[in-house]
């Protein structure tokens, strides 16, 4: 696949595409297998009948079976499928994502304490960036968006680029160790 990416030799590209297609097939089968794991765990919980766990597990299995059957039989653009997707799934996911806003407030209260000069710089920078990104900051002082943008575009970006380069090379190193068989612990080799 690496060679297929770099070289224009057609058989290589075709072989690479074939391997990628196999990867897609494996992912699809893995999803089926993982669903079996999910069903197994929740059926076990229903059979144990502890507190309200069985009720939630039952609801999950009914929803899983129902939506799967509906999607396969009538397609994902079907009215009923779309209704449940728009009424339940989308708001549910959006709600959980929105909880990040609350968690950042509690994390900020707990963690953003000035203990030394570096944390003081961090806090002041965070204040500039936060106020620079909203209308009230600009209304209070024109400097907030200006300096906030400078902080994001210069020091923050410099740090990010360094980390990106490091993480990129680290990824290549990790991939090379896996390809050469030097690192086998992800397969259950000795990890101690």
């Amino acid at each position: 696949m690496i060679l297929g990416f770099f070289f224009t030799y057609k058989p290589l590209a075709q072989a690479s595409q074939t391997v990628q297609n196999w990867g897609v097939l494996v992912s699809a089968f893995a999803l089926g297998m993982a669903s079996v794991n999910l069903i197994r765990v929740h059926l076990r919980r229903i059979s144990k009948g502890q507190e309200l766990d069985w009720l939630y597990s039952g609801a999950l299995l009914v929803a899983l079976a129902g939506m799967a059957a509906l999607g396969i039989a009538k397609g994902p653009s079907n009215k009923t499928y779309t209704f449940w997707f728009d009424a339940l799934f989308t708001p549910g996911q959006a709600t959980v994502y929105a909880m990040t806003g609350f968690y950042i407030a509690s994390a900020a209260f707990r963690a953003f304490r000035i203990r030394n000069i570096e944390s003081a710089i961090l806090l002041i920078s965070a204040a500039f960036v936060m106020l620079g990104n909203v209308s009230v900051g600009e209304a209070l002082w024109k400097g907030f968006p200006t300096y906030g943008k400078w902080l994001m575009d210069v020091p923050n970006l410099a740090g990010q680029r360094g980390m990106m380069i490091g993480a990129g090379i680290g990824g290549i190193a990790g991939g090379l160790r896996v390809l050469l068989g030097i690192e086998k612990s992800y397969l259950g080799g000795s990890g101690s």
Binding site: V96, I104, I165, G174, R177, E183, Y186, L187
Partner: protein
Amino acid sequence: MIGKGKVFSFWALIVIVVCMLYSMWRAKSGRPVKIRKISGLDAIEEAVGRATEMGRPVHFCPGIGGISAIEAPQTFAALSLMGYVAHLCARFDVRALIVTIRTPEVLPLAEETVRQAYLEEGKIDSYVPTNIRFLSNQQFAYAAAVFGIMAREKPAANFLLGAFWAEALMLAEVGSEVGALQIAGTAQLSQVPFFVAASDYCLIGEELFAGAAYLSRDEVQLGSILGQDISKAIVAALMLVGIIAKQLGSTYFTSLLSK
């Protein structure tokens, strides 16, 4: 031969691979590699020990990325660290090691990693397959399920290692709420600040990839880390030369990058 726009990338990859092979050979031929202390990795044993003393489980999440996309190296790095954690959990008789999975193809790797660790420690009877749980392949459904598991099981140690996206902060905050000692690590740059704020120890970027080498102290693996550093030095030198050249009006390096 080499596709348009990929020549520089190809030769850059060759240089990086040569650096790493050379460093690995150098380490194997008896020249030890020193690596700096990474407190997040040193704290793993402390975290698992804490779980043993408190009689509470350990929760491990190997990220929500897969094994076939750009975040695959992070997932493999997390699985390697999971093997180490599983060995410790088996050795110290931790009440339970709960592994939560979002990407289906990671599930068999996680099951095998944990099972093998328990087998090697001679504690195969303690291995519970249903503790390795696929929850959902939808990001926030997965996150909500993990919240529930952490609220019910109250792990004493929470490992969040691998590729994470928007759920990172939430997982770390919920872990903090239940009183877990948290070791987090990711190469997803957008999530690093959240982990730094919300967890006790954070592995940033390549510290995650260095994990298996650091913990095993295997000479060849440590050698590959030296190779990474040599590659980074070459990149930094190229950047410096390129900046100076650009300031002097030369576009050679800019055109070189797009070859």
